[in-house]
Amino acid sequence: MNLVNHALSVAVGVILGAGVVWWVRPDKPAGVAFIVVVSTLLCFVLGASAALLSRLVGKSGNGGG
């Protein structure tokens, strides 16, 4: 399940990166790659953080109950 979540966030990041590239229209190929990389990494980190938070919230909920 973890792997699926990570893969999903990476996919979202790539798609988002492509969208940002379409909007920004960098002049250089390095700029395109930069945007895609940053977008992918950002989505991966956000996805991992969200998964971690949901696990922590779930644990504290079980512990409190």
Partner: protein, 308 residues
Amino acid sequence: MTLVSMTLVSVTLARLSLACGVVVASVTAGFAACPPDDLKCLEDLLKAGKKASSAAGGGKTRSLSIDRGSGGPVPAGSVATPPPPRPQPGGIVVKATAARPHSAEADAALTPVREYLRAAEIPPPGVGAYGLVVFQSKATPANRDKLTMVCRSFVAFFPRGADTDVPIGDRMITVWPVDDPASPRAAADDCDFVIDHYELSAAEAAIRDAHRQQPEATFQGEGPYLVGWSPSSTRGVPDKLVLVIDMSADNSQASIDHKFLFWKSQIVLDPAKWRSGFSLDRIRVAIHDFADQYGQSMLDAIKLVGGK
């Protein structure tokens, strides 16, 4: 997951997304270079894209294909011809409460031209609208290269006022203040001359008047700036439009050209597009310039960390 494994995953992820980015970049650039119906060109491009992605990070690209049906090539999310460069704003403006006067002459788009004028001759009488190239200082060894780039853009983007027969009321004059505009070297667009003979008093007056109309325009950057008023009578009048384009962060000829292109195509042709405050376009320009400037360094760093 341990910290080490997280780091390894991140690097691998970066290389993979780098591969995707390289493919996107190469395909986007290449489709722009290939004629729409040239399947051979597109197939060669895809092969080159796969090679580029292998060199970047060994990723496999299997998402692109060419449809050999009667409809011709179907590139994945690409365009066949490159879009024209979009003008990019970079400055701050005052939101006007008064609109440009509506007359037959005012409804016609202003013709952008350039002039070298003395400070005392600014503004040119009867002109429709005008702007100034504003320096914070005269040329020093530190800023001379940048001022030269600004001069080159100024000469390249606008025709001379003397070369056009458009009535002066229909002109948008971008002024470069010099103390000797009649000099043959100025007429020859000698950038060294017009930079050395730049009249700082005109720039100081423009900064003062723009700041009076728009107190948020602090002019704290190193500049140069493009400052303009449309119509020309609105200079110094509170609540009237003033446009300030800040080129402090622009240190390449390309980015300075972008600012002049925006000044010319958007501002001159439609002063109603002078916007204030938050602007999505400014964000886009900022991301564009950052990605172009630091993209290559970032890619080199990823390759360095990830190894060959």
